[in-house]
Structure formats: structure tokens, C-alpha cells
């Protein structure tokens, strides 16, 4: 036995990419082989720890699924027949296809980037091409949560904000949310529990994090909104409300015009200067809302008033209060959610007294935007976390909105112990970006920059529709169907391109998304779309280019494959321009660097960044070439150093300026990468204590944030208790919008606008209730296990030993009624299809739900697994039964939240019955031929010891 120092020759600091958390890692290398990956102790995100995925990075690097050279399809799509070609040829083909399409019309190129950690750069690249059709994966991930949060509070969950685990005393996690994020949450929950805090999990399933919950509240899927509203009912009833927070920092007391049938209805009552008004009880008169603090007004929260102009007006809170009382008593909520009224009442009291009466007060002096100096920072130690469980329902946006209102009522937004923003957030809500407005596709030009692609329409005139009101984007984002599709709708791209509705495209480019399999819904239909041919035998979706490191299902259904390098082989920026990798105590960005050379392993692969620079240069896009036609950037490393989205602002914020002495804003620094490496791969600006809380009204923070370009003004960020912008869409639905864009004369679309664009949150049943009803009695949903969450690696040699197959989990009493026994094979059938799978009975699942792990089931032959691997036969993919569309009064619309378009995966309703044929095999089965060299890599025994 030898002890000591022999496990590496070189040690590198980089950033993990086994999931989406972007933890700091130390990578140890011996003989060009990775020997060990551990968490970086100095990194503010993961503080030295590393999860099961991060610790299995070695097996990603040496996976047999890895592509080794560009591929050009030779057989039919999905056959797995390709020939290997050189990079020069591959890039020439890609450039030719893209160029020809761009010349016909830039929208004919659609670029969708799934697991994208460089959205700012990829979006900019799409913009350089001039196409309107770019988005990342938010449309099927959690755009409901992100959009509701940003529009309500200027920040949200996950990349936008975290619980203050250092101080919180009560942490409630609602819906499937685990490992969003991974290490930071595990660290945080244990820290809070050790301090004696209470951890509550509201979820149809008790599993994973739920194991250590101090209380599990099982809930019927899709009813979380009602539960949250019920909590607010009780808080109001018992006066457990932070009235000061609502008065000063939200628009809850602002007056809303009550004039049904007129264009002013539901909008704020404003004075001649356009300032929203409140009713001051002290002077008994109407006053501008921005005078609440300066003039110490006492605005009414309850009541109905008449303005001098004769408008009937009510404070936003009053309208909401009426709704809470009428519709969301604990008894009514019990009937919807299955949660006992007594539990709702008790939990509301617990969070109320913890938020308002806990003695937490930090002895930190600070000044608010109104110039008031405070001796301390008063805590509100209640925090929440929501993510995909809330987001993935057709009522997800309004449910998420309810959570943000709950935060406001408790005053725990960015308060010590509450839910904290992560810089560069919060942002002023009225300054959030909007998608670049065009009125016709004719406005697009090859090489004329289009962007930003994504954003937050504030009223119907911001939509991307043509004169007839038809969508201008292939994914139908920002159309009347999905007006506030803040992250785009990647899930609609393939069905839309297949139906040539709204139009046909020529080239579909997919970067790191498995749209042919576990990231789409109704897979038999998606595969039909990808392989359908027209009368002349050409594919309906003519060209598909995929960039990926592995032999995925998506790769198998592509025409040209550009093999990506792994995260251990390329430069990459985890940028503040993207959704930030920050922590609540300050902004963080980070670098990923090549630590092993793929060429030495026999992989002729290239990081997408390098390929993007070369394609951009060959397309002669203005951002990539100088005026004389010479390339602006040598490679992606050069790009990361020198690219600026605006003067002084680039991919990395640290050590800018010629000498590396400027942070955030400064000219490019040729030694910037070296400086990141010297600083262990990341840049972290730790805010001084007095700038760490209440940042939406914190004078010093906002002044600093303006100085570094995070915000554009130093006014308070007043939170939207009432989301007035939604009302403009509702007015449009009623035919009362006086702007330029008018919805088509389509009763279904108009009714959606009227019904769902409510400026105050409410709960409505998931859409599937109406079409599936009692015939399909169970909700079916998925989550991913912690060892695979957000990973691209369920084929990983180590991780798949933890789970190489999935089961359908269900409650034993539910099963008993159906005559189903433990480990029986059953059919799970929805209105769009059925899948055969094996049942696993568990008391940890509430009786209305069945669920499974997503993305374990694979197409046989894909992902470097042997064709007989369990993933393809015993394992299964629930996506086959997830509807991609729904008929409403005869009109087919893509299945999503009517506000954001968020794919409502978890609305899916099914029936479950025992299969006559108990043969242990899933159905439907799909297969693809493995690449020949992948077969050669299959080893009987793997003994990893470089």
C-alpha cells in the first residue's frame, strides 16, 4: 500500500457540468486521464462538496456513447446509418445549408439550444444569423416559475434566488423541485435543520429530500395554487400579514379601476402624470403611490372609492381579499387539494408567526431608497422553493404567482431568513427585456442582427404576430396562444415544423437537447414528425443538424452531427449575462477549461464554441468578421476574452480592463482567462453586509448595482402584487384593447385571454381535467432521481448501477382497488397513447398519483448501451402518453400554460390496468442501430485505474 500524492500530476480548477448547478470543481489528472474530481472548497456555490453526478464525471468522459467524429446521415433518419466525415467537410455542409436557408429567409433556420449554459452567446449567434427562431429549454423546464417571479418581484427561484438558509427557520418546498439546485440545497437544508428550523415538503410524493422533512403534506397534483391561496386566506383572517411590506414595497394598495366593458377596466387609476394612485385614509384623499413613504401615507387596503372623475376604484388587495374569502377557505381548499382544513390552518399560522414574530434581527445599519436610515435588518425567516412541480401544469403561472404573493404577504422577499435574490437580480420589472418587435418576417435579413429573442411582453402590442395575428415564431412564442412565453417554446418546434404551421423551415439546429426522446411529449408523434416525407420523398423537416457529445436519440434522427467536446475538454463561460450562477451574497461567474485533450483519446471532437466561431465566420456574419472580411476571433477562447455584448461588458465579468483591474465593466483583458485560472476558476464579488438584504429598496445596493450595469436606475423595485400587464391581454380578449395588435376573431383564443390573464392569482383545474376527466382518473408525472437530475448521463457506468430502469410508483390502496399487485406489469393509458411498464407499490405516493423517473428509459441502441440494456426494455418512457396538444372547442392548441406556453407535462391523466401479457417488457419499443465503433467499446469488465 502506497500512500501519498500519487493520484495526480496536474490539478485544475473548473466548473462542473454534470447537471445545471455549475459547482466549482477540482479535477486531478494523471497520464491525460482524470483520476479524481472533487468539489472546490473555495467556491461559494458548493463550498467543497460534490453530488453523485459531479463525482461520476469520469464515466461521462470515458462513456462509450461518445461521438468521435462528425457524422453525415446515409440511411433513413432513425436508422443509425451515418458516415464519418472530416470537420472541414462537416462545417462546409452546415454553412451551405444554413446560408441557403438564410438567403431564402432567416426564419427558415431554427436554432434551439436545450441544456444551454451559454444562452447569451447562443442567442447572440442566432441574432447574428438574423433568425427570429431561437430559444433555450425554458419552455419545457420552468418558465412559469421564472416568468411569474420576475414579473412579480424582479427575481425568482433557482438561478434568480435562494432561501436564506443561514437564517431561515421555516422552509417549505412545494411540488417536485429537488436538485433544482443540487448541492446548494442539500447544504442549505442541513444547515437550517441543525439550527432547529422546520422543513416542510408539499408534494404528492415523499421521497429524497422529503425523507428528512419535518412534515410531509401530500397534495393532489395540480392543486398547489389552491393550497397557497388557502394559506393566504388564513393569514389574512388572523392578521398575520406584513402590512408595512405590502404598503411600501408592493402595489397591493394601488387603486384598480372597476369599469367593466370599458378599456380602463382593471387598470390602475392614474393621475395626469400617469402615476398610479392610492387612497390615503389619513387625508381621505387620492395620492400618488410613490408618495406613500415620503409623505407617510396610510393607504387603504380595503374598501371601494369613487374618484373625482367618477371611476369606481378598489385597492388591488381588496379585490384579492374578496377572492380569498369567497373561494379559498381551508374547507374549500381541502376539497380541491385533499389536504385537511386543519392542516392548512395550522401551517398558515406556523409560517405567519415565524415570519412576523421571530426575533431574528441582524445588527446591520442600512439606508433605504427613500433615505431612511435603519439600525438593524429585521428578519422574516420563512422561505419557499418551487420549481418544476408547480411549473409543469397548465395553471403553473398563476400558481407560481400565488407563491410570490404569499412571500409579499409575509414580507419575506429578500429579508433576512426569507427568500433572497441573487445578483444581478432583482431587476426593475418595467425594465425587463422584451422580444425584439417585428411585424413581418420580411423585416428579417441574413446577417442583420435580430434580438433580443426572448423577454416579457408588457402588453399585446409587444407580441410577435403578423397583421392577421398569426405567430411570427416557429414555436408560437409571443403569439396570442402563448403571449408571455418568456423563454420561448422549444417543445412546439418539431410539431410546428412538421405541420408547416405557421410556416415551413429548412434547417433545424439542435444543441444539446434530446427532442427526439425524453425532452418531447407524445414521442410516437414526434418521431413521425421527424421522419415524415412529402410527395417527392423529401423530409418535411428538410435538414436537421445536432450538436451533442453523445449518441442520443436526437443524434440518431439527425442529418448532420457535429460532435461536441465534453465539459472537461473545452473553454466555456458561466456568465452573468445568462441566468446567473450567483449566490445570494453576491454575483458569481465562472470559467470552464479544457483539462484533458480529446485528441489523445482518439476523439476528433470540437467544443461547440469553437465550431460556432468558425461557422459564424464562414457565414460572414458581421459579429464574426472585420470590415475587410478577416475573422474577428481566432477561436472560442479568444471570443470569450474579446467579445462584448455592449462596450465593456463581455462573457466574464471579473478582471476586465487592459490590466485586469476592473470588474464588471471594462475593456477586454488579454490575460483574463489566466486570471480566472489563478483565482480557482471563478469570480465572486461578495457584497458588503449592508447590501445583502432588501435589495429592491436598498439605496447602497441599487446605486452599486447601477454602477456595474445590473440595473438601470436607483428607484425602488415595487413588487407586482397586482400584475397590471396581464389585464391588457384580458382587455384584448374582450375587444377593449386600444392598441395596434388585436387578437384574431377566434373565440377560443379570446376566451383564454379573458379567463386566464387575471392580474391576481387564482386556481383553476389543469386543462386535462376537462378532456380526460374520470375516464383517466390518475395524474401521471415524472421527476428525476438526485443522481441523475439535470444530467446528460443516465448512461453513465456508475450512475446506471444505481438505477438502470424505472418503475411506475403507485399507492398500494389504489393498486388494490384495481387488482394490481406489487411488480405487476400494467398499461398506463392516456387519451394519446399507452405504455406498458412495471408497478412498484409505495406508501410514499398519494392515491391520485402515479409517477416515475424520467429519462431513464431509452431507445434500444442509443446512448452507448448494449441493445439488451434494461433502459430500453424493462425501463420505460412516460413521455409517450404525455399529450402535445389539446382540443378546446374543436380548436387544437399546443398543450401548455395559456400565459407562458410552459409545457404542462404533469397535467397528464391516465388510467392504469393490469396487462394481460405479463411478459417483462415495455411497449412501445423503439430501436436504433448503435454506431459501429460504439459496439467495439463495450467491455465486459471495467477497471478504471489510470
Amino acid at each position: 500500500m502506497e500512500i501519498g500524492g500519487s493520484f495526480y500530476e496536474k490539478k485544475y480548477y473548473s466548473t462542473c457540468y454534470m447537471c445545471a448547478c455549475r459547482c466549482g470543481i477540482e479535477v486531478y489528472v494523471r497520464n491525460n486521464k482524470v483520476t479524481y474530481i472533487k468539489g472546490n472548497e473555495d467556491h461559494p456555490l458548493n463550498k467543497g462538496v460534490l453530488c453523485a453526478k459531479g463525482s461520476s464525471g469520469i464515466m461521462k468522459e470515458y462513456s462509450p456513447a461518445r461521438l468521435r467524429k462528425p457524422l453525415l446521415r446515409t440511411g433513413p433518419r432513425g436508422s443509425g446509418q451515418f458516415k464519418e466525415i472530416e470537420w472541414d467537410e462537416a462545417i462546409d455542409i452546415a454553412v451551405k445549408w444554413i446560408k441557403e436557408a438564410l438567403e431564402k429567409g432567416p426564419h427558415r433556420v431554427a436554432f434551439f439550444t436545450g441544456r444551454d449554459q451559454m444562452q447569451a452567446i447562443n442567442g447572440w449567434f442566432a441574432g447574428q444569423m438574423g433568425t427570429i427562431n431561437w430559444a433555450a429549454h425554458g419552455g419545457f423546464c420552468s418558465v412559469n416559475v421564472a416568468a411569474a417571479g420576475l414579473l412579480s418581484t424582479g427575481y425568482s427561484f433557482w438561478e434568480f434566488g435562494d432561501p436564506d438558509f443561514e437564517h431561515t427557520k421555516y422552509f417549505m418546498m412545494i411540488g417536485v423541485a429537488e436538485d433544482h439546485s443540487s448541492n446548494p440545497f442539500k447544504l442549505g437544508i442541513q444547515e437550517m435543520k441543525r439550527r432547529g428550523g422546520k422543513f416542510v415538503v408539499v408534494n404528492p410524493v415523499r421521497w429524497a429530500y422529503g425523507a428528512i422533512a419535518d412534515e410531509w403534506i401530500p397534495i393532489k397534483p395540480g392543486t398547489d395554487g389552491a393550497f397557497i391561496m388557502g394559506l393566504m386566506h388564513v393569514l389574512f383572517k388572523y392578521n398575520l400579514v406584513d402590512w408595512r411590506f405590502l404598503r411600501e414595497q408592493t402595489n397591493a394598495p394601488w387603486l384598480v379601476i372597476q369599469a367593466p366593458g370599458t378599456p380602463k377596466d382593471g387598470l390602475f387609476y392614474r393621475n395626469e402624470e400617469g402615476k398610479p394612485m392610492v387612497f390615503d385614509k389619513r387625508s381621505k384623499s387620492f395620492k400618488p403611490a410613490d408618495r406613500i413613504v415620503p409623505d407617510d401615507l396610510d393607504p387603504a387596503f380595503i374598501g371601494e372609492f369613487e374618484t373625482p372623475e367618477g371611476y369606481k376604484v378598489r385597492p388591488a388587495f381588496d379585490i384579492f381579499a374578496e377572492r380569498l374569502i369567497k373561494d379559498y377557505s381551508p374547507e374549500k381548499v381541502e376539497k380541491i387539494t385533499g389536504i385537511p382544513a386543519s392542516t392548512i390552518e395550522r401551517v398558515a399560522k406556523e409560517i405567519g408567526v415565524t415570519a412576523l414574530y421571530d426575533p431574528l434581527e441582524l445588527p446591520i445599519e442600512w439606508t433605504d431608497v427613500w433615505g431612511r436610515k435603519h439600525k438593524t435588518m429585521k428578519g422574516r425567516p420563512v422561505s419557499f422553493h418551487i420549481m418544476r412541480g408547480i411549473a409543469s401544469h397548465s395553471n403553473g403561472f398563476q400558481t407560481a404567482r400565488a407563491v410570490f404573493l404569499l412571500k409579499m404577504m409575509l414580507g419575506c422577499a429578500d429579508a433576512p431568513g426569507g427568500h433572497l435574490a441573487k445578483p444581478p437580480y432583482p431587476k426593475h420589472i418595467d425594465t425587463l427585456p422584451k422580444p425584439k418587435k417585428i411585424k413581418s418576417l420580411d423585416e428579417l435579413e441574413y446577417g442583420k442582427f435580430y434580438g433580443p429573442h426572448l423577454g416579457f411582453p408588457q402588453n399585446p402590442d409587444d407580441l410577435l404576430v403578423d397583421k392577421e395575428g398569426r405567430p411570427l415564431r416557429i414555436d408560437r412564442a409571443y403569439s396570442w396562444e402563448f403571449p408571455i412565453a418568456a423563454h420561448g417554446c422549444i417543445q412546439n418546434v418539431i410539431p410546428s415544423a412538421y405541420k408547416k404551421d405557421p410556416y415551413e423551415i429548412d434547417v433545424l439546429i439542435i444543441y444539446m437537447a434530446n427532442m427526439a426522446w425524453n425532452s418531447s411529449q407524445n414521442i410516437p408523434y414526434i418521431l413521425e414528425a421527424l421522419t415524415a416525407t412529402d410527395a417527392s420523398g423529401n423530409y418535411v423537416i428538410p435538414k436537421i443538424i445536432t450538436i451533442d457529445a453523445f449518441y442520443s436519440e436526437q443524434v440518431a434522427y439527425s442529418d448532420l452531427v457535429l460532435p461536441d467536446a465534453t465539459y472537461l475538454e473545452q473553454y466555456f463561460a458561466l456568465s452573468l449575462l445568462d441566468r446567473p450562477p450567483s449566490v445570494a451574497s453576491g454575483p458569481v461567474d465562472a470559467l470552464r477549461i479544457p483539462v484533458v485533450d480529446p485528441k489523445k483519446e482518439g476523439y476528433d471532437v470540437r467544443g461547440w464554441g469553437d465550431v460556432m466561431v468558425e461557422i459564424g465566420t464562414k457565414l460572414k456574419l458581421p459579429g464574426f468578421v472585420n470590415e475587410d472580411g478577416s475573422p474577428k476571433y481566432k477561436d472560442f477562447k479568444d471570443f470569450l476574452i474579446n467579445w462584448e455584448i455592449k462596450p465593456g461588458v463581455g462573457a466574464l465579468a471579473g478582471w476586465r480592463g487592459k490590466n485586469g483591474d476592473k470588474h464588471f465593466v471594462g475593456e477586454p483583458n488579454p490575460k483574463q482567462i489566466e486570471m480566472y485560472i489563478k483565482n480557482k476558476g471563478f469570480f465572486y464579488y461578495r457584497l458588503p453586509e449592508h447590501m445583502r438584504y432588501y435589495r429592491h429598496i436598498n439605496k447602497d445596493y441599487l446605486e452599486w448595482a447601477k454602477s456595474v450595469g445590473f440595473v438601470t436606475k436607483t428607484e425602488p423595485i415595487i413588487m407586482n402584487f397586482y400584475l397590471e400587464s396581464l389585464q391588457t391581454f384580458r382587455l384584448a380578449g374582450q375587444g377593449l384593447w386600444e392598441g395596434e395588435n388585436q387578437p384574431p376573431n377566434d373565440p377560443v383564443l379570446r376566451e383564454r385571454l379573458v379567463k386566464y390573464f387575471d392580474p391576481l392569482p387564482f386556481w383553476y383545474p389543469p386543462f386535462e381535467e376537462e378532456v380526460s376527466g374520470d375516464e383517466y382518473p390518475f395524474y401521471a408525472f415524472t421527476q428525476r432521481p438526485q443522481w441523475m437530475y439535470h444530467s446528460w448521463d443516465s448512461q453513465n457506468a456508475w450512475l446506471r448501477q444505481i438505477s438502470s430502469r424505472n418503475y411506475l410508483y403507485m399507492n398500494p390502496k389504489t393498486a388494490e382497488k384495481l387488482g394490481i399487485k406489487h411488480l405487476d406489469w400494467v398499461w398506463v393509458e392516456s387519451r394519446v397513447g399507452k405504455v406498458k411498464c412495471q408497478v412498484f407499490l409505495t406508501e410514499t405516493t398519494e392515491p391520485n398519483s402515479v409517477w416515475t423517473w424520467n429519462a431513464i428509459g431509452k431507445m434500444a441502441g442509443a446512448w452507448g448501451l448494449k441493445p439488451e440494456a434494461e433502459e430500453a426494455h424493462e425501463g420505460f418512457l412516460l413521455n409517450h402518453v404525455v399529450p402535445h396538444s389539446i382540443k378546446i372547442n374543436g380548436k387544437e392548441v399546443y398543450y401548455g400554460d395559456p400565459i407562458t406556453g410552459h409545457l404542462a407535462w404533469f397535467d397528464t391523466k391516465v388510467k392504469v390496468y393490469k396487462a394481460e401479457d405479463q411478459e417483462p417488457k415495455t411497449y412501445p419499443e423503439f430501436k436504433v442501430e448503435p454506431l459501429p465503433y460504439i459496439k467495439e467499446r463495450w467491455t465486459e469488465v471495467l477497471r478504471y485505474k489510470p
Partner: protein, 241 residues
Amino acid sequence: MPQYALVIDLNTCVGCHACATNCKEWNTQAAFGPLSDFDPYGKEPTGVWYNRIFTYETGEFPDVQVFHLPKSCLHCQDAPCVPVCPTGASYKREQDGIVLVNYDDCIGCKLCAWSCPYGCREYDEADKVMKKCTLCIDRIYDETLPPEQRKPACVLTCPAKARFFGDIEDPNSEVYKAIKERNGFVLFPDMGTNPANHYLPRTETKVNLEEFEKHLLRPDNPLFLEVVKRHHVSHKAEEVS
């Protein structure tokens, strides 16, 4: 005599398997590696793991509990795997209580695995020897590592900080104190094995509303009542249809 051991906090362990895979990646390349994997991309992938996570549920819906139980060699103070070994390959070190296998002497007879009531022995079919957790003996004594990193890989990586390492016989150690203060327990205490590894039990935090109920919590917020009155709405339970 010193007895090194792991103490695992079931009150924070979320069953994420980080300890298991980090153990695997450390140990496969280190002094006692490799940890062979068999048919890793085939039908039934298996392999040598020093550390495995088991998940159990108890109770009936909705009163159900879930436990994640990470389990590796418990480095028993009276380790049954040692006396049964016919060659002396399985041994317990005097200086720190770590149970190890000397691969050179192991004949792969599996008697130790048979005698271990915890199933914590890992036979490597490729090497034909028995393998097991070494408490990362090749980390904890490695003086080229910074002192704070001279700990088992599983302890350093655990995102839930659920794993503690130290000498359970040393009253000043973190692990000794944790066992005493938090009622640490061992698996199968009746087996006479005297395991060194301990577990810290689950506890349930509750919020005490009693004092608040007496003074503060009254359903009579005047604003609430005003809305009730103005809209003539009922909010009473019995009137729910």
C-alpha cells in the same frame, strides 16, 4: 485504543448517493483500486462499491416515513470477519481500528462476507479478492494532502454534511460528542459485533403555536371581517356546498 469510524446523520441524509460515487471514483484509482464494474453498459450492470445507499419506507399513507441508510464497512470493534479469515488477510489495525484486507493473502473464499451480518464486503470477481471500505486510509494519512482534506472522500463530498469522521474513543472528538449528544446508535447492537460506525437518528422539529394561540391568533382581523360584510360572503365551514 483509537477507533476511527464514520458517524452518519440520518436527520440530514437525503439519499443522494454522492458519498457512494465519490467513494467509487476515489477508491478505484487509489491504493485499494480498481473497483471493478461488470457489464457496465449491458443488461445488468454490477460493480464493486465500498459504500451503498439503501432507502426504506415505514408506515402507511399518509403517516409514512422514508429513511436513507448509507452503509459501508462498520469497522466493528469485534469484527466477525477477522477471526473467520483462514489466511489472516482480513485484519483489524491496532493503531486506528480500521479493518482491512491484505489482497496478497486473500484467497477469495468469502468466509468473511458470510460472517458479516451487514453485507458490507465486496467481492471483486475480476481480482478474485474481497474488497471493502478502508476509511480512505490512503487519504487520512496522506501528508501531501492539506490537513483538512485528510478525511474519507465520502465525508468531504457529502452535500448534506451528514457524514462525520474521527476517533469515537476520543471524548474530545466531534464524532464522540455527536454520538453522545444525539443518541447515536449502531446497526444490530445485539450481534456482538460492536460496530464502530454510528448513526444519528431522525428528529422532528415542530412549531409550538400554543403561546400564540393564547394571545395573538384570533380570527378577527377587522379588515377580513369588513370584506366578509361588504360582499355578504360566507367563509364558514358548515356552509360549504
